[in-house]
C-alpha cells in the first residue's frame, strides 16, 4: 500500500471522527482532500468511502444523523440531508458487476 492509499485511509477515519462530533464542515474538508489525493494518484476510492460520502456535497454520511437509508427492491437508497440520492444494489443473487470488488469489503 503506498502513501496515497494510506492517506486516503487516514482521511476517511478523520472524516468519520469529525462527522461523529457533528463537525460536518471539517468532515467535508477531509472528504474533499481524500478525493483530491485519489484523483491525483489515479486510485479508486475504497468502497466504504464511496458509500459513506455524498457525491453532491461531500458530506460524510452517518445514517440516522445526516442521511436516510431506505431499502427498495434490490437496491439501497441513501439520501443525504442536502437532498442527493445514491443508489446501490444489495443481495448477492444476480451477479452484479460490483461483486468482483467484494474482497475489500470487510466491515
Amino acid at each position: 500500500m503506498d502513501i496515497a492509499a494510506e492517506r486516503i485511509e487516514r482521511l476517511h477515519e478523520l472524516a468519520r471522527a469529525a462527522a461523529t462530533e457533528d463537525d460536518h464542515d471539517r468532515a467535508r474538508y477531509y472528504v474533499r482532500l481524500a478525493r483530491r489525493v485519489a484523483e491525483r494518484n489515479r486510485l479508486a476510492l475504497p468502497r466504504k468511502f464511496r458509500r459513506f460520502t455524498c457525491d453532491r456535497c461531500d458530506a460524510y454520511l452517518r445514517p440516522g444523523r445526516n442521511a436516510r437509508v431506505r431499502l427498495q427492491d434490490g437496491h439501497v437508497v441513501i439520501t443525504c440531508d442536502c437532498g442527493a440520492h445514491a443508489r446501490y444494489p444489495y443481495g448477492n443473487d444476480d451477479g452484479n458487476d460490483e461483486a468482483s470488488e467484494r474482497e475489500d469489503d470487510t466491515p
Partner: protein, 155 residues
C-alpha cells in the same frame, strides 16, 4: 510505506499530534495540539486545554514542528478521547510498524547526520517516535505533497 520519519513529509499530517519547537514568533513556541487543517502555507493546530479547544493557524515557514508518530493513528485518536471506535477498525498489520519506524529512523539519523534540522528523532516511551521537521519542507498543496518522488529533500 507506512508512516515513518522518512515518509512523514509526504504523508497525511492531519490528525497528527504536533508541537512547535522553534519559531520566528516566540509566542508560538511550545504550542502543542493536533493538526486539523492543512493549507499550502499553514497548519491549523487544535489545542485542547482544560475542557475547551481552540484552533491556531501557524505558517509552515518559519517554524520547526515536532510530530509524534505512534504505532498507528488509532492509538493517538484513542488517547485524545475523540473517537475510541477507530481503534477497532485499524488493521492489525500496523502493529509492527513502530519497530520498522524505529529502525528506519535510526538509519536516517545515521546517514543524514550532516543536516540536524530534519528528521531528528528521539524515542520517548513505548511505540512513540518524535519527528522534527522544518516547516519549509512541508510547503506544498496538501494533496500534492505525496507526489514528490523519493524522500530526498532535493527536488
Amino acid at each position: 510505506m507506512a508512516l515513518t520519519p522518512e515518509t512523514l513529509p509526504r504523508h497525511e499530517l492531519n490528525g497528527l499530534p504536533v508541537r512547535i519547537v522553534e519559531s520566528d514568533d516566540d509566542s508560538r513556541v511550545g504550542l502543542e495540539g493536533r493538526v486539523v487543517i492543512e493549507t499550502t502555507n499553514t497548519l491549523s493546530i487544535e489545542i485542547r486545554e482544560n475542557g475547551d479547544s481552540r484552533v491556531v493557524m501557524v505558517p509552515k515557514s518559519g517554524s520547526t514542528f515536532e510530530f509524534a508518530i505512534t504505532d498507528d493513528a488509532a492509538d493517538a485518536e484513542k488517547a485524545s478521547g475523540t473517537a475510541s471506535k477507530l481503534a477497532d477498525t485499524q488493521p492489525a498489520a500496523t502493529d509492527d510498524s513502530s519497530a520498522a519506524a524505529d529502525r528506519a529512523g535510526g538509519d536516517a539519523a545515521g546517514c543524514r547526520g550532516d543536516d540536524p534540522s530534519r528528521d531528528r528523532r528521539h524515542a520517548a516511551g513505548e511505540g512513540v517516535a518524535y519527528v522534527t521537521v522544518d516547516g519549509s519542507r512541508l510547503l506544498s498543496r496538501p494533496a500534492r505533497r505525496t507526489e514528490t518522488s523519493g524522500d530526498s529533500p532535493w527536488q
